[in-house]
């Protein structure tokens, strides 16, 4: 059962991502991407990581993609007038597709060499309690570093937004 769900979710994720990167309209690609993130979140749940699945939805689908949507809307790329109207043609796609195919081929060859690859993933479940224990005991220093980095990011975003906003009256808040 879990095996089938894995493959279905994997196909959904890949197809949705492929649709997302080929759409001309950024808003459409964001919708497809949110779809793909949902599939990924369910994959995480399947692999025994309920907390990561929840955060995938809350942070990626609920915050980061919303931020993208916000920026697109603020830059006034309405349905009538699109940012890159023509989009990349087949001529631009061809070399990238070839490159991607080559890279995937290399990956497959490498996987063949690795003996760990053929191991099966067991059914496993990390309860939020275990997760929290490891996070706050073994990685306490890393949490401090990451929180500092979030602070720097907040200050940086504030500075960049303020500098951009000074030109126009009011600007972005």
């Amino acid at each position: 059962m879990a095996t089938y769900i894995f493959y279905i979710l994997g196909i959904i994720a890949v197809v949705a991502t492929a649709m997302a990167i080929t759409r001309r309209n950024p808003v459409h690609s964001i919708i497809y991407l949110v779809n793909s993130f949902f599939a990924l979140a369910m994959l995480f749940y399947l692999l025994g990581a309920p907390l990561v699945a929840a955060w995938e939805v809350i942070i990626y689908a609920g915050a980061i993609m919303v931020l993208f949507l916000f920026i697109i809307m603020m830059l006034e790329l309405s349905p009538g007038e699109r940012a890159d109207r023509q989009g990349p043609g087949p001529l631009q796609w061809l070399p990238v597709l070839l490159l991607g195919a080559a890279l995937i081929g290399c990956t497959l060859l490498l996987l063949k060499l690795d003996p760990a690859g053929s191991q099966n993933i067991p059914t496993w479940y990390a309860s939020p309690r275990d997760f929290g224990y490891v996070l706050f005991h073994e990685y306490a220093l890393a949490i401090e570093i990451v929180s500092f980095q979030l602070l720097f990011a907040a200050v940086g975003a504030f500075y960049v937004g303020r500098a951009g906003g000074r030109k126009e009256a009011g600007g972005i808040k």
Binding site: V27, A54, G62, V66, L69, M73, M74, P79
Partner: protein, 331 residues
């Protein structure tokens, strides 16, 4: 009857019950809101359709169903059609984790009165409430109208700002209950509801859910006298109806979340659990309507100032204080 069939049937029955009750309650909440607002303004409210206007929701639904479904010319058609459904579905889904009563014993089985008791119920609620932004935003963007776009941008930034303090107000609750499951959180409030244990978190959560429900005094996304009707300006017929129903279902959901997290859920003396739960949720809904009848709308900069400079630091401080208190109590 095999075990799995019974369990499936019970889950389906609970789903159907929740769905039916939620939709009916949402319809009658609209009527209740109009009635109560009317009484607060010294007028009787709708009283024409049926006795005391009790058939008004039915009349509204018939009106909405028979109206023309209008799609603007330059609109992004698919997203325009998708958005209202998204708004209603995200609101409905959240109720899956709400425990609305103590476990019942049916056919020798213990049936928990919750559609699905997830062990990460709090995160499920937060995730879905962060997805609720999409219905509104996409609806506003896809309409290709300036008022709808402005309403959508306003709503988007308002919702993601107040979601932070809402989530942070829930952290003390999780710390006190030592679980993400809503059932355990209700169980932890058997003696004292968390509203009395941690009144600051209660207050922050209350203000944040008023902002999350996009209602007065935080109804900037649909401020009628500035933005026509905000993000649903271009909607008509049942698509508008879905937005409308979604909003009221969202109200019930947020009310039941407040009940579960801070008012002790279905805990209460004498009466059965479901009755206590309904009384508490309806009281919270009345409070929402009361707020709407009382307070004026905030200005947009006041809203952002309040969210980021007052509510967010307060909720962070509250997390620290609760943690210190718990550590001190442990000794």
């Amino acid at each position: 009857m095999p075990e799995w069939l019974l369990i499936t049937l019970l889950i389906l029955a609970k789903l159907g019950l929740v769905f039916f009750v939620l939709l009916t309650l949402a319809a009658y909440l609209v009527l209740a809101e109009r009635k109560i607002l009317g009484r607060m303004q010294l007028r009787p409210g709708p009283n024409r359709v049926g006795p005391f206007g009790l058939m008004q929701p039915l009349a509204d639904v018939i009106k909405l169903l028979t109206k023309e479904d209008f799609i603007p010319d330059q609109a992004d058609k698919w997203l325009f059609m998708l958005a209202p459904g998204l708004a209603a579905v995200t609101a409905l889904l959240t109720f899956a984790v709400v425990p609305f009563g103590p476990p019942l014993t049916l056919f020798g089985h213990e049936v928990p009165l919750v559609v699905c008791d997830l062990n990460i119920g709090v995160l499920f609620f937060l995730g879905l409430s962060s997805l609720a932004v999409y219905g509104m935003t996409l609806g506003g963007w896809a309409s290709n109208s300036k008022y709808a776009l402005l309403g959508a941008i306003r709503g988007l930034s308002q919702l993601i700002s107040y979601e932070l303090s809402m989530g942070l107000a829930l952290v003390p609750v999780v710390m006190l209950a030592r679980s993400f499951s809503l059932n355990d959180i209700v169980m932890a409030q058997a003696d004292v509801p968390f509203a009395l244990v941690n009144p600051l978190a209660f207050l922050i959560f209350l203000i944040s859910i008023v902002a999350e429900s996009k209602r007065i005094p935080f109804d900037l996304p649909e401020a009628e006298n500035e933005l026509v009707a905000g993000f649903h300006t271009e909607y008509s017929g049942m698509r508008f109806g879905l937005f409308f129903v979604g909003e009221y279902i969202n109200l019930i959901i947020l009310g039941s979340m407040l009940t579960v997290f801070f008012l002790g859920g279905w805990m209460g003396p004498f009466l059965p659990g479901i009755v206590w739960f309904s009384i508490k949720v309806l009281l919270v809904c009345f409070f929402f309507i009361w707020v709407r009848g009382t307070l004026p709308r905030l200005r947009y900069d006041q809203l952002m100032h309040f969210g980021w400079k007052i509510l967010l630091p307060l909720s962070l401080l509250n997390v620290i204080l609760t943690g210190a208190f718990l550590l001190w109590r442990q000794g």
